[in-house]
Amino acid sequence: MTLSESTIYDVTHLLDGTVLLLSFALLYQRRLFGVLSAFALQSLVLALAAAWQAFANDAPHLYITAGIALFFKTIIIPLALHRIVVNLGIHREVETALGIGATLIVGASLAALAIVLVLPVTAASVALTRENLALSLSVVLLGLLMMITRRNAVTQVVGFMSLENGLLLAAVGVRGMPFVVEISAAFAVMVAFIIFGVFFFQIRERFDTLDVSYVERFRGERH
């Protein structure tokens, strides 16, 4: 079956845009479970985007990428984080360093920056690639923003994972990106998840909380 160019463009654009939309959704969650659900949803859409690319461009290796995203990022990691949150009993704590409204405004301007930046720089490329790059850069920047505006370690981890989602989105959208890169990106997330997991328990064991400001206080840097 062959698809028309415009169908490919529209569907890809829809999926990529949804990933970005879910990045914003991540930013305004006030509860940890909400954060985890939004993240799982984002990963799911990412897996769909990868699968769509695989189907549309006839690039079967992207199915593997989609599978990894679906299996690890949509199911395993959110479930594991969910367990951690339940075990530690911290489901209420989304402590923000910057208010939700302000964060959203900053996030919107970051997305604008990404678009303003990417569209002229990549003027020579195909329209689809350009849009895709602009959207993924926005997702990356929003992930970073989430990491620095949330105090809770779990939300920081989710921010990091969402940043990885942005990278993966860029990787699947750009034609000819070597398979190795995607695999390694996936494994980087795995490793990071394991490390963060270990850290949680360490922090929790010592301080009875996952609020990293306790760690900071322990280092003697905050009064």
Binding site: L113, L117, P120, V121, I148, V212, E221
Partner: protein
């Protein structure tokens, strides 16, 4: 020939590695001497044979830039200096090394240091040059640290390391600009690339700063009087005599070979820097109390003299007077050669004094001429040569330089017309002060009576140490008498740098020196020596014949004080006092304070004297303070929370992205 030098340098490198394992004095120094001899002979034969430059491309290095070596007249001349002095210093070290307290701190690095200098002179691309240069710097730094248990040595080594890093950074930038946007890092590509005015100016001054800091030019000289004396004496001889010449080589290589043209006002800057360094260096030499520090300060003077000659050469060349430029550069290279000879000799002599007495403090020396007659004679020749007493070699090169200064009147720019005589006067003043400094050095250390018990018990050093000193002294006399010998090896360099038309400028007949076409002002060391010798013989004969009675020995008049204490002699501080007083405010910031006991107190009165280098207070102290303040402010950043650290990175990222977005 290139292969021979390369093999010798490689052998030195292996000896360094071997020295770390074997710790055999004789093996390391004997091997170094042999390798230096091979390299020396190869360079000498190449210069005398006068062939085409030889090239060698090694299959190592960066993927796009294999290591390239080249032997041409300029590198061969400097190889002659480095390996000639290296040979004699290695022989000397066979004896000197036995007195070393911790030989394992010297043995591995000494051959490595020599190898670094050899490779720096052979390198024909910026990358291998800089690697060799850093190798040389770090090896000499480790040698300075040989006596690391003394806190002042550690301080000296630290300052040396900082200055060496700074100099290398400047050289890296100079080569970066030379390579241009295409990144032609091989010297051959740099020669072919024309340089625009401002990049070329930048290159010239980066080279002056980068290599000049290694050569000890003011105001980058502060490390030199600290670091050179701290190393073992044979290494001090090499650092002062040879390593500063490698720096000079870098300056000449960049300015006269890699750059295609020079601008006249660079010459003005070089002249002023050279004249200033000469005066500053010699002033510090006149007041130093430590024999080796005195010699190191005098190195600053001599390199200043050479840089002034280079400045003149630039000014002449830029004004289309290649003949006069060639004379000035001949004078500079000749003086560099002479400095390697007599400064090497003097440092070896100071090492002999150190071995025999255990001290370098002039106030504890004295009367060594009776105890170490051989060393004293060699040291005297070195002092006379560095003080430019005819017919020794120091006079010949300074005479040639002053001839070029006089010719400076033909330069068209008014600023140069003013500056050249002023710098000439500075150089003349430095020469006179150098005489004072070395009369003081020799007189206090070797004449009079011993000022300390260990000095009174001094014995002459062993033959392995005496022979190199004797050879260097003989060389100082020989070059002075027959300057044609030196001009024979400098000639090819000038020919290569200024073209064949200018070769007659090398001015050498065999026995006399003269600027081209000016035989009326010729100088002949040999003639002077012969005339002096004839007059001396005649005078002695006449006096012998005229006097009736036979000579009779008796005790000298003792001014009515039988057997005075040695402390009543002229002291080193006392000898330097007039000069120190004259320049007290302007140069030394000297503070003299008399601590007079109250009537009835039984302690002696004391004269306290403190002086330091104005460069510290004016340049280095503010820089140190600024760096300290900035670091303290930035230190806060090291203790940020994870989230704030991330925010900083995030901010930087967004800022950079925003800059791109705006600029596109």
């Amino acid at each position: 020939m290139l292969t021979a030098v390369f093999t010798a340098a490689l052998a030195l490198l292996l000896l360094g590695a071997g020295g770390a394992v074997l710790r055999q004095n004789t093996l390391v120094y004997g091997g170094s001497a042999a390798a230096c001899a091979v390299a020396f002979l190869a360079a000498l034969l190449w210069l005398l044979g006068g062939g085409e430059p030889e090239r060698l491309v090694l299959p190592v290095g960066l993927p796009w830039l294999p290591v390239q070596l080249r032997l041409d007249a300029l590198s061969a001349f400097f190889l002659l200096l480095v390996d000639g002095l290296g040979l004699l210093a290695s022989i000397y070290a066979l004896g000197y090394g036995r007195h070393e307290e911790e030989p394992q701190r010297v043995l591995p690095f000494y051959p490595a240091f020599l190898a670094g200098m050899n490779f720096a002179l052979l390198a024909d691309d910026a990358f291998s040059f800089l690697v060799a240069w850093e190798f040389m710097s770090l090896a000499s730094w480790l040698l300075v640290l040989a006596s690391h248990r003394q806190p002042e040595t550690r301080r000296a080594a630290y300052i040396y390391l900082v200055m060496a890093a700074f100099g290398t950074a400047a050289l890296i930038l100079a080569f970066g600009v030379l390579a241009g946007p295409e990144g032609g890092y091989a010297f051959e590509q740099m020669r072919q690339r024309p340089d625009a005015f401002w990049p070329a100016t930048l290159i010239a001054f980066l080279a002056l700063v980068g290599a000049g800091s290694k050569a000890g030019l003011a105001p980058l000289h502060v490390w030199l009087p600290l670091a050179h004396p701290a190393a073992p004496s044979h290494v001090s001889a090499l650092m002062s005599g040879a390593m500063t010449k490698v720096a000079l080589y870098a300056i000449i290589r960049i300015l006269f070979d890699l750059l295609d043209s020079v601008v006249w006002w660079w010459g003005l800057v070089f002249l002023l820097v050279g004249g200033g360094s000469a005066l500053l260096g010699v002033l510090f030499a006149t007041v130093q109390r430590d024999l080796k520090t005195l010699l190191a300060s005098s190195t600053i003077e001599n390199l200043g003299v050479v840089i002034a000659a280079v400045g003149l050469a630039i000014a002449f060349k830029a004004n289309g007077l290649p003949l006069l430029g060639a004379v000035a550069l001949v004078a500079g290279l000749f003086h560099a050669l002479n400095h390697a000879v007599f400064k090497g000799l003097l440092f070896l002599g100071a090492g002999a004094v150190l071995v025999a007495t255990g001290t370098r403090d002039l106030e504890r020396l004295g009367g060594l001429i009776h105890r170490m007659p051989y060393t004293a004679l060699a040291f005297l020749v070195g002092c006379a040569a560095i003080a430019a007493i005819p017919p020794l070699n120091g006079f010949a090169s300074e005479w040639l330089l002053f001839q070029s200064v006089i010719e400076g009147a033909v330069l068209p720019q008014w600023s140069l017309q003013f500056a050249v005589p002023v710098v000439g006067a500075l150089l003349a003043l430095s020469a006179a002060l150098a005489l004072a400094a070395f009369v003081r050095a020799f007189g206090i250390a070797f004449l009079g009576r011993p000022r300390a018990a260990e000095t009174a018990a001094a014995r002459e050093v062993e033959a392995t140490m005496r022979v190199p000193m004797g050879l260097l002294a003989a060389l100082a006399v020989l070059i002075g008498l027959v300057p044609g010998l030196a001009l024979r090896v400098i000639g090819p360099v000038i020919e290569a740098l200024f073209g064949t038309a200018a070769i007659s400028a090398a001015a050498g007949r065999f026995l006399w020196l003269a600027p081209p076409g000016r035989l009326d002002v010729a100088y002949s060391g040999f003639g002077l020596f012969a005339a002096g010798a004839v007059l001396l013989v005649l005078t002695v004969a006449v006096v012998k014949r005229a006097s009736r009675t036979a000579p009779r020995r008796s005790a000298p008049w003792d001014c009515g004080f039988p057997d005075p204490h040695p402390a009543t002699q002229y002291s080193a501080a006392g000898f330097a006092q007039p000069i120190r007083r004259v320049f007290a405010d302007s140069v030394f910031r000297a503070v003299e304070r008399v601590d007079m006991p109250a009537p009835g107190e039984q302690r002696p009165a004391r004269l306290e004297l403190r002086f330091d280098d104005r460069a510290w207070t004016l340049i280095y102290a503010p820089i140190t303070r600024a760096v300290g303040t900035v670091t303290e402010r930035l230190n806060v950043l090291q203790f940020l929370t994870i989230r704030r650290n991330l925010s900083l990175m995030f901010g930087a990222l967004v800022l950079l992205l925003a800059i791109i977005a705006v600029l596109r």
